[in-house]
């Protein structure tokens, strides 16, 4: 038996295929993987952190915002989730490498904790994405309010969710909502997504690293 791919084995969503009603506009559901680190500002180090992050090429957006930065090793998305607290997400690489790179770049200006192995990420896209998420999400996801540079932490179906937009390049008018939930809630959250999308129909895509 071949070795399972890291992060693919937790089985949140059912196998790729169609689920629910056979509508014309099925919503697209996909599990994807991210390396994640939580960055917390050390007391009194705001200036040092700003400087260190600039040296590292790491964007530190304001509260409730997301920012993407390209670098030689891959794009990093940083979400501002609380005052002085960010979640930095990157495509999976060698275990621990992303966290080490961030931690060595920021040194004493912030505490850096790797949280990627505790997160399950889902994306919801397609014309009905907003309608599907509205069955559990209490935030206004209208593109005028929840833009491609918005990030939020909220509660959906009693599960804590980190929400941001992961739009394809050049397609800001067709939002891709990305949701990260604690890994132990992945199955329950997948159940919520399947129930919420049963009326519009869902196309389940294979789990992805992108």
């Amino acid at each position: 038996m071949s070795k399972p791919e890291r992060g693919l084995g937790w089985g949140g969503l059912p196998p790729p295929g169609h689920h629910g009603a056979l509508g014309r506009d099925p919503v697209k559901l996909q599990a994807f993987m991210r390396d994640a680190v939580e960055v917390r500002l050390a007391p009194g180090m705001a200036e040092a952190l700003r400087h260190a992050a600039a040296g590292l090429g790491l964007a530190l957006p304001g509260m409730g915002e997301s920012a993407g930065t390209g670098s030689a090793t891959g794009a990093v998305t940083t979400l501002g989730l609380a005052p002085g607290e960010w979640l930095a997400l990157a495509r999976p690489e060698e275990p621990g490498a992303f966290a080490r790179r961030i931690a060595s770049g920021l040194e004493a200006a912030a505490s850096v904790v790797e949280t990627g192995h505790g997160l399950a990420c889902f994306s919801v896209s397609g014309r009905a994405a907003r309608e599907v998420l509205a069955k559990g999400c209490r935030l206004d996801l209208h593109p005028a309010v929840f833009t491609s540079s918005t990030a939020a932490r909220t509660v959906i179906a009693q599960i804590p969710v980190t929400l941001w937009r992961k739009d394809e390049a050049g397609a800001a008018d067709s939002p891709v909502f990305a949701l990260a939930v604690p890994l132990t809630f992945a199955q329950s959250f997948a159940h919520f997504l399947l129930g919420a999308s049963a009326g519009t129909g869902a196309e389940i895509l294979p789990a992805s690293k992108d």
């Binding site: 409730g64 989730l81 609380a82 005052p83 209490r138 939020a152 932490r153 909220t154 509660v155």
Partner: protein, 82 residues
């Protein structure tokens, strides 16, 4: 359902918050007697009107905030950082 305006996250539903008790109390010092601690730990005003409360935004920014709420009408007077 209350709609609480978190100073960090903006208006959010009550379900994201946890009530953490009376925010007008202050802990007695080491020089105070057992009666003062008894009052601090157990005795509450229970006013019908404006009340200063701790709320924890556990489903959002995870920060504590102080909220002024009318216990009779649920009107929220304001919320702020401690």
């Amino acid at each position: 359902m209350l709609r609480i305006t978190c100073p960090h996250c903006g208006p959010r539903d009550e379900i994201e918050f946890r009530y953490r008790g009376d925010a007008s109390l202050s802990r007695p010092g080491p020089e105070d007697d057992a009666k003062a601690f008894q009052r601090y730990a157990y005795e509450r005003e229970n006013p019908a009107g404006m009340h200063l409360e701790w709320w924890l935004h556990v489903g959002g920014c995870r920060r504590a905030l102080k909220l002024q709420r009318d216990t009779a009408s649920h009107v929220i007077g304001g919320a702020g950082e401690p």
